[in-house]
Symmetry: C2
Subunit: 350 residues, 2 copies
DNA sequence: CTGAAAGCGCTTACAG
DNA sequence: CTGAAAGCGCTTACAG
């Protein structure tokens, strides 16, 4: 299958290559007859523009990059990345963009690779997952004026564009659900290691406050995202006699459930538990674990859409997109499992 | 950060842009002093070549594509894709190639996207996952003379380059393990839907034959990769009083285990089970499930290496790479879990 | 509404 | 060993 050039298409259609270029790029002010003829020839020949040439000439590639940090061990149990990538590719396809993929596994790879990204004439913009481990990446991107959007709220309130789940809302509706079940002493297995954990905690507090319940610091124990640590701190927590626990991640919830069951307590009768993330591995065989589900695909799509907006208008103010989360109820006694819906929040700060 | 061009680097270093290009591309016959000077300037300026321009001029992009079929539901429980992508990106980084990602979710996306891939001047080659659903893709790739490598053995013995796990070996060592445990009546929950299933079955047969054991067709029941179907056919299988079962996938093994336990039989004492894939979700809380582990990362790397070989030498004979699988033993009674190693097979046919 | 021409930043024969 | 120059296939002011 021969590859045609603009010149050749023009010759066949009896117009100049400039004109062909214009119809391809949907420029206005092309006579209908010419447009039709050119489109026909393109159809017949199966002409596809040469992206490299277009990129060189126009200085835009319609290629977006996705940078994923050195792969974490939880990738093997957490469907986060597949779902995220699914959302991103879907949005890219819709917008007629192509996705390029950067993933590094060693610091050396990261080092070399980052330069390739930052000065990559081929990228119109970049999506960065929040837990990249080389902090200077952000600086370098800004210096190079590469448009980018982060997935996950940045630490230190850096004024960069980002898309995230509404973690505050998640913590709040999780806790509210426990309150609605009539629980009086609601504990929390927290993690304050990142912005998301902090926000989930604030949601927890807000729910208690709204219901005129006191925050008891003894009911909040520090997790670190690991199942084992969660198991240990839950043992401590149980001494405080909680009747409900909000766990900041489903992964930790596995440990929490183990500790609770070993103590001979029933779920949800004695202690109701609400997790976060809706991980299949956690939820499987744990019919009483309600949890907060993040719209990960939507986060991916929103990241693309936001990035496109930024590329379009580089001087736009900081974009902060928060996607709503859902409460997935599995701890009803006899009732149908259900889902609570919420609505999207898009803010533009600055 | 300003982007430099070859011309500018040349001016600073006091040579022509052609010379700069030559040192960047490691051409021989460059005087050491010039090379050093140019390299210095590149270092200082942080010069990065413009990929689009290079691609246009040289007709090669150092970009590889990965095409993943409309995402399957099992993506959410199966770490196959993350691991595969990890292996592929690693090999790409090593070889200084960039990975571009194609994934489609609807037939329309697939349709439009495929054209973009096939006639993509920006791709040096493509890796295709075997279970693409549009069969014509392969034809179109061949017509367009796009170098590509498939992951997974092709059906109908199509003479295309591919990389796969050694499924025959897997079936064989799985069955041999059961024989080594002294089992006499070894059943199989099969799937013959694809080349892999067929090979696993052949491995099963080969192991029996080598041990002078008869193949009893009644001991082979048809699975379809689903847990539910596996559960059902296992109930039938149990009537034949097997004392060992080779299950062609861990996912199905979950159903098999359920059926066996419901029948009041002990694993592995009454019935030993060997699965395939080493899925965390299946293995978790199933201490007695031995399984065959595929080197998925290596398959990804091998796909890249094979593709690079094909790109280098388009007239190379059909590449068929089979990577060894491992038996992961978890059904020893009291002993340490262990792994049996095997060695790689690379064949060149035609 | 359309075309001729310059230019995007590289590579690569061709000369020397 | 090095340089001048053509060319890769597009886009886009500039004229008309």
């Amino acid at each position: 299958m021969k590859r045609f050039t603009l010149e050749e298409i023009g010759k066949i259609a009896g117009v100049s290559r400039a004109t062909v270029s214009r119809v391809i790029n949907n420029h206005p002010n092309i006579s209908d007859s010419v447009r039709r003829r050119v489109l026909e020839v393109i159809e017949e020949t199966g002409y596809q523009p040469n992206i490299a040439a277009r990129t060189l000439a126009s200085n835009q590639s319609r290629i977006l990059g996705l940078m994923i940090p050195a792969i974490l061990s939880n990738v093997f149990t957490n469907p986060y990345y597949p779902r995220l990538i699914q959302g991103i590719t879907h949005a890219c396809n819709e917008a007629n963009y192509t996705l390029t993929f950067f993933m590094f596994q060693t610091p050396e790879e990261q080092q070399v690779g980052t330069s390739r990204i930052v000065n990559n004439a081929l990228l119109d913009g970049l999506i960065v997952n929040a837990d990249y481990n080389e902090n200077s990446l952000i600086e370098r991107l800004m210096k190079a004026r590469m448009p980018f959007v982060q997935i996950g709220k940045p630490i230190d309130d850096m004024p960069i564009h980002y898309v995230d789940a509404d973690n505050f809302l998640g913590g709040k509706i999780a806790t509210q659900h426990l309150i609605d079940m009539g629980r009086q002493r609601i504990g929390q297995v927290a993690t304050a290691k990142n912005a998301a954990g902090e926000e989930r905690n604030e949601g927890y507090m807000a729910a208690l406050e709204e219901n005129d319940m006191e925050v008891d610091e003894n009911l909040i124990v520090p997790g670190d995202f690991s199942e084992h640590q969660a198991y240990r701190v839950t043992k401590d927590l149980l001494k405080q006699k909680p009747d409900g626990i909000f766990v900041q991640s489903d992964w930790m919830a596995i440990g929490v459930i183990r500790a609770v069951q070993e103590a001979g307590l029933r779920i949800p009768d004695d202690i109701a538990i609400v997790g976060f993330d809706d991980l299949p591995i956690a939820v499987r065989d744990k019919p009483h674990l309600s949890t907060i589900r993040q719209p990960i695909e939507s986060i991916g799509s929103a990241a693309v859409e936001t990035l496109l907006r930024v590329i379009e208008n580089p001087d736009i103010g900081q974009q902060q997109v928060k996607l709503p989360v859902e409460l997935v109820i599995r701890d009803t006694c006899g009732g149908e499992p259900g889902i609570e819906e919420n609505t999207e929040t898009v803010e533009e700060a600055s």
